[in-house]
Structures are given as structure tokens and as C-alpha cells.
């Protein structure tokens, strides 16, 4: 599903990713672990197509297509979802309006009609409730006045509504208390099917207790230095990054 080959990325003129290669197949859940500054978010943002992230060499293939040729909104139509580490507040735009426009934009790109208002409301409420969000919060402006945990939960609701093929979740667990963490984990687990894949980016092992990865990769200084099964995460927890690398 996702094939990253020898990816080099500059941010503000400085090379952050120094040759990352990664392959994720449908049905798999991967975790990338690393300390702050290792390049984990850079990888996530590059996959999503953010402007300031300059790919200097390497390639990304997604669902058989050259991802670097696609605009961010096109990547979403192709089946990508990025869960942000720091979701932005958007005053004046309600969660409902945002989600409806997003969903219909994706449908339009796929040659489908807009979803009917009734169907949409049903879908959104269902997902909100599933993820422990008070449906009233849907009327509020995107992330405005939301606590850290509520913002992360909002990311999960958006993911559930958009139903992506590949979910790249950047530090989705940070700032969550144990209850919120469990709810988010459930949302992620529901997302895991034969035809979908999940890439978790985290530096705490905690989330991986609830969302058990198939593969774990360790990222240090812009490169993936080691890959293994889920035991690798435990090893990192016990020994620290320096020792494991």
C-alpha cells in the first residue's frame, strides 16, 4: 500500500530525513518510535504533502501511484489520513461544516455525489458517539476551546468519518489520560481491517499496549535504524534508544 524508498527531506534548508525506506501492506499496523527531533513528524508531514517539506530525493508510492505527484487533498481522495500531533484551531468553521465539506470533497474527487444531509448527520453522530465525543461538540468551531484530549478525539472522529485506507497518526496518544487513550485506541483498532493499514508515530510505548503493531521501526537522526516485531517496543522501553540502536 505504501512504499517509501530512500526518502531525503529538507525542512528550512536543513536535511531532516536522510534516506528513509519503509513498506506498509494492507492489513498491517506499523509503529515508528523515536525521540523528539528524530524526524518522525517530518515523515508524517511529508507523506501528507505539507508545503515546507522539500523532498530532495527518493520516492513514495501509495496505492500504486506516485504520491509525490499528488496535492494534499488528492492524497486524501486516494485514501490517506493524517492525524496531527498539534491539531490547529479554526475559529468560524464548525466541526460539522468542516467534516461535511471534507467528506463531500473526497466523494467529488472520486466521482461520487454529495452525501445527503440526513445520511451525513447520522454518520457523524454515530462516529462521535463511538469515540466518546459529545455530539454537541460537533456544532462548535474546529478545536476551539477543546482540551488536548478533546482535540485528539476530534482527529479520531474525522478519521472515522473519512474512513481512509492508510491512517498515519502522529503522536495521537500524547496528552491523553488513560480513558481517552483507551477510547482512541478503540477507534484505531476499529480502523484496522484487511484492506486498511495504520502507521502510528509515537515515542511512548503506552499506546502500543492497546494497539498492537505488527512491525515496529526505530527512527534516529532521520533514518530508520532498526525494525522488528512488537517486542522491539518493549525493548526500547526497557533499554532506551541508545542501547537498542
Amino acid at each position: 500500500m505504501l512504499k517509501i524508498k530512500d526518502l531525503h527531506v529538507n525542512v528550512a534548508g536543513k536535511e531532516i530525513l536522510k534516506g528513509v525506506s519503509l513498506e506498509i501492506n494492507a492489513g498491517e499496523t506499523h509503529a515508528i518510535m523515536g525521540l523528539n527531533g528524530a524526524g518522525k513528524s517530518t515523515l508524517a508531514n511529508t507523506i501528507a504533502g505539507r508545503d515546507d517539506y522539500e523532498v530532495t530525493s527518493g520516492s513514495i508510492e501509495f496505492m500504486g501511484k506516485d504520491m509525490l505527484e499528488m496535492e494534499p487533498h488528492e492524497r486524501v481522495a486516494a485514501g490517506l489520513f493524517l492525524g496531527f500531533q498539534y491539531p490547529v484551531e479554526i475559529p468560524g468553521v464548525s466541526n460539522l461544516n468542516f467534516l461535511r465539506t471534507a467528506l463531500n470533497s473526497v466523494r467529488k474527487q472520486r466521482g461520487q455525489d454529495d452525501m445527503s444531509a440526513a445520511e451525513f448527520m447520522k454518520l457523524v453522530r454515530e462516529k462521535a458517539v463511538l469515540l466518546g465525543m459529545d455530539p454537541d461538540m460537533l456544532k462548535r468551531f474546529v478545536n476551539v476551546g477543546f482540551s488536548g484530549g478533546e482535540k485528539k478525539r476530534n482527529e479520531m472522529v474525522q478519521m472515522a468519518v473519512l474512513d481512509p485506507k492508510l491512517a498515519v497518526l502522529d503522536e495521537t496518544d500524547s496528552g491523553l489520560d488513560i480513558d481517552a487513550l483507551k477510547t482512541v485506541a478503540e477507534g484505531i483498532n476499529v480502523q484496522r481491517r484487511e484492506d486498511t493499514a495504520v502507521l502510528l508515530i509515537t515515542h511512548y510505548q503506552r499506546l502500543l499496549d492497546y494497539v498492537q503493531p505488527d512491525r515496529v521501526h526505530v527512527m534516529i537522526d532521520g533514518r530508520i535504524v532498526k525494525s522488528g516485531g512488537k517486542e522491539l517496543a518493549l525493548e526500547l522501553e526497557e533499554k532506551g534508544y541508545a542501547d537498542v540502536a
Binding site: A48, G49, R50, D51, E71, P72, H73, V76, A77, L82, F84, P87, V88, I90, P91, G92, V93, N97, F98, L99, T101, A102, L103, S105, V106, Q109, F141, V142, Q158, L162
Partner: protein, 430 residues
């Protein structure tokens, strides 16, 4: 300024003697004042952002109105009455008095002072050449007096249409009076064709104790029009004045609001949105005077300037020495789409009392790249994303509009303005 221009306006003023009962002396003085003062100098503080060269260059003739058959725009909502002015002249046949005449006193300016010519002294003179010319040359307008205790729920529309009026001007003067405890909502609309015409309007209002005046303005003049309008409002004890202005049209469009909170507990809110396309200059100047204690004012302005478009906001708030416990807030935000777009902000606070709460904020910038990316990262294309953000940006200034279909209509115009720009390349602001 060209002598010929002054002479032309002097002649026009002479020609208006006798046209509005009670105004002759006022006119004579106003045209003398204008001849002495001329139009505001380019360097004058209040007019520094507005280019008055077209007004200095030649005199604008009185607009003709006979025989014009313009299309009247549909109302946004149920109206109490609709008054239509074509090229500055009240058109009875196109207007609809509705039921308003049963509840309030409504007269065209031409008849208003007939019974009481002394009341003409209540007319605001106009502090600058533009206002003086309005006083000298106004020959029509609406005079609406709502008696004490009467609440007019549906809005009253005053529609100004300019058609086939190239190089002509319309000077109108409206007078709105609300008795104690009365309430009314006036919607002023300005539309016109592509000719180079000049709309020079003034509205003066008195809001008595406990009364509430809501004032919405939709300026959609033609692309080559000059639009200069002023509102003078006096608010009595516990009275309220709520204004919202959306400026979209005109080559040079300017709205000035002068509000005096004359007695305790008066409230004034002035909000607005200005969207300046390429080559347009849209200016707003407000001056709210808190002369008495416990008065409140709040202003929310949002402007957007496209390439080579210009907006300006000058917001002056004065708080007199005895006006304690006053709360006055201002929030001005401007978006500029690229380096050629211009936005000017000049908040001014003059506070002479010592127990007050005043705040002001003015920012100029472009759309938040992080917000745009957040939207595109959810599948929304960049053009739609920008439109959503600009709509959200402007919405803050339209929130106080209580009539939903009216607010929706104004929001729709913001959306349409952005949608019209969808094929323009998105500038790289780096």
C-alpha cells in the same frame, strides 16, 4: 481645486433654492463653507487613505431620474416598507409603504420641514467638503419617525439605485428618529451600474431613551463608482445603536460613522466587512464618543484585500472625563492576499476618565497556512479551503445581525466574492 468645480457646485446649489422647504439658508451657508474649504486635502488625517482626485478633477452634475427603469433587487426578508431612490430621487411608484405608515411617520425630505422650517436647524452640517456639499445639494431623502413605545419588527429598506448616471452625483439625506422605547431596523442598500457616478449620502439618527436602532448597510455600487457616506447617530440613556456594514462595490468606497453616547447606559456596536478587489479602495472611519458614564461600545471589523486592493479602518473612541465605568472595545483584522494588497489600521483611543475598560486590537496578515493545510489534509481543495477560511474570518463581524436570512445573505456575498476569485493563482506569500 479647480475654480470651475466650485462654480459648478455653486450654480447647482442656487438651482435648488426652494426645492426643500426650510433648507435654503442652510444650503447657502453650506455652499459658502464648501467654497472656502474645498474637498479634504490628501494629507488630512481622516482622508489620508481615500483618493479624492476624481472629486477634485471635475464637478459631478445632478443625476437625472425621469425615465429610468432600473431593476429593483428582491428583499432578503419580510420588510416593513421599501423605499426606493433612483439617482437620488425618491420613487414613490417603485416603493412600498407596507404597513409602516400606520405605525410611524414617514415623509420624503422635500416635504419634511414644511410644517416646521425651524427644524431644518437640526440637520447635520457636515464637517468636511464632502459633507458640506451634501448639505448644499441634498434634495431628497427619507424622514422616518417612530413614536415612543412603537416597535417595528420587520426591517425598513432604503434602496439607492444609480443608473445611467455617468459623471453625475446623488446627494441624499435621511433622518431617522426613534422615540423613547421605540425600535426599528433600517437596511440601506446601494447598487449601481458601471458608469462613473458619485453617491454622496448622509444619514442622521436620534435614538431616544431606551430605544433601539439597528442599521445594516450593503454597499454594492458599480465598479467605477465613488461612494462617500456618513452616519451621525445620537444615542440617549439606555438607548442602543447596532450597525453592520458590508462593502463590496465602488472604485472608492467610504463609510464614516459618528456616534455619540449622550447618556448613561447607552450602547453602540459598529461592525463591518470590506472586501476590496483589484483596484478598489474601501475605507471605514468610526468615531464613538462616550460622553456619559456606564456606556458601552464594541466594534468588530474584518477586511480582505486582493492584489492591488486597499482597505483601511480608522476607529476612534473618545471617553470624556466624567464618563466613568465605560467599556469600549475594538477588534480590527485585515487579510491581504499578496504583497500588492494593502490594509491600513488606525485605532485611536482618547481616554480622559480614569475608571474605564478599553481594549483594541489590530492585525494585518495573510491566511494561516497551518489552517489551510489542516483543511486540505482532510481532502478539501485549496481554493475551497481558502474560501471557507475567508468566510469564517468575515463571519465574526456579521454575527450580531439578528435576522437570519439577512445574515445568510451577507455571508453568501462573502462566499461569492471568494468564489469569483477561484481561478486566480494562489499567491505564494513567501
Amino acid at each position: 481645486m479647480d475654480d470651475a468645480v466650485i462654480k459648478s457646485y455653486e450654480k447647482q446649489a442656487e438651482g435648488l433654492v426652494g426645492s426643500v422647504a426650510g433648507m435654503d439658508d442652510l444650503r447657502a451657508k453650506a455652499i459658502r463653507d464648501f467654497a472656502a474649504a474645498g474637498f479634504p486635502a490628501a494629507k488630512s488625517e481622516d482622508w489620508r487613505y481615500s483618493d479624492l482626485k476624481p472629486l477634485r478633477a471635475k464637478a459631478f452634475a445632478p443625476a437625472n431620474h425621469a425615465g429610468e427603469k432600473p431593476e429593483i433587487p428582491a428583499a432578503f426578508t419580510e420588510s416593513a416598507a421599501r423605499f426606493v431612490f433612483v439617482n437620488g430621487r425618491f420613487s414613490e411608484s417603485r416603493s412600498d409603504m407596507g404597513d409602516l405608515w400606520q405605525a410611524a411617520s414617514v415623509r420624503p425630505l422635500a416635504n419634511h420641514f414644511m410644517a416646521n422650517p425651524d427644524r431644518a436647524a437640526e440637520l447635520v452640517r457636515g464637517r468636511d467638503g464632502v459633507g458640506m456639499l451634501n448639505t448644499a445639494l441634498a434634495k431628497d431623502g427619507m424622514v422616518i419617525a417612530i413614536p415612543a413605545g412603537v416597535e417595528i419588527d420587520d426591517p425598513v429598506e432604503i434602496i439607492h439605485i444609480m443608473t445611467n448616471a455617468a459623471d453625475c452625483a446623488a446627494h441624499t439625506r435621511h433622518i431617522i428618529e426613534l422615540g423613547e422605547g421605540a425600535s426599528a431596523h433600517i437596511i440601506e442598500r446601494f447598487i449601481g451600474d458601471d458608469a462613473t457616478y458619485w453617491t454622496n449620502g448622509m444619514l442622521q439618527a436620534r435614538v431616544a431613551e431606551g430605544a433601539k436602532l439597528t442599521h445594516t448597510r450593503l454597499q454594492e455600487e458599480g465598479a467605477n463608482a465613488l461612494h462617500t457616506t456618513k452616519a451621525y447617530v445620537n444615542v440617549g440613556a439606555g438607548g442602543q445603536y447596532h450597525a453592520c456594514t458590508l462593502s463590496l462595490g465602488a472604485k472608492m468606497g467610504r463609510f464614516e460613522a459618528y456616534v455619540r453616547l449622550m447618556s448613561d447606559e447607552g450602547v453602540a456596536t459598529i461592525d463591518g466587512v470590506a472586501l476590496a478587489g483589484t483596484g478598489q479602495s474601501l475605507d471605514t472611519l468610526t468615531h464613538i464618543s462616550h460622553t456619559m458614564p456606564h456606556t458601552t461600545s464594541d466594534q468588530i471589523f474584518r477586511t480582505v484585500a486582493d492584489s492591488r486592493g486597499k482597505t483601511s479602518f480608522q476607529g476612534k473612541v473618545t471617553v470624556d472625563k466624567d464618563a466613568q465605568k465605560v467599556e469600549a472595545d475594538q477588534s480590527f483584522k485585515a487579510l491581504v492576499f499578496d504583497r500588492t494588497a494593502e490594509a491600513n489600521a488606525k485605532p485611536e483611543l482618547e481616554i480622559f476618565a480614569d475608571d474605564v475598560k478599553c481594549s483594541h486590537g489590530a492585525t494585518v496578515g495573510d491566511l494561516d497556512a497551518k489552517a489551510i493545510f489542516y483543511l486540505t489534509s482532510r481532502g478539501i481543495d485549496p481554493v475551497t479551503a481558502r474560501q471557507m477560511l475567508v468566510e469564517a474570518f468575515a463571519a465574526a463581524a456579521l454575527e450580531r445581525i439578528e435576522i437570519e436570512p439577512l445574515r445568510d445573505a451577507l455571508m453568501a456575498r462573502v462566499g461569492a466574492w471568494m468564489a469569483a476569485r477561484k481561478d486566480k493563482p494562489i499567491p505564494d506569500n513567501k
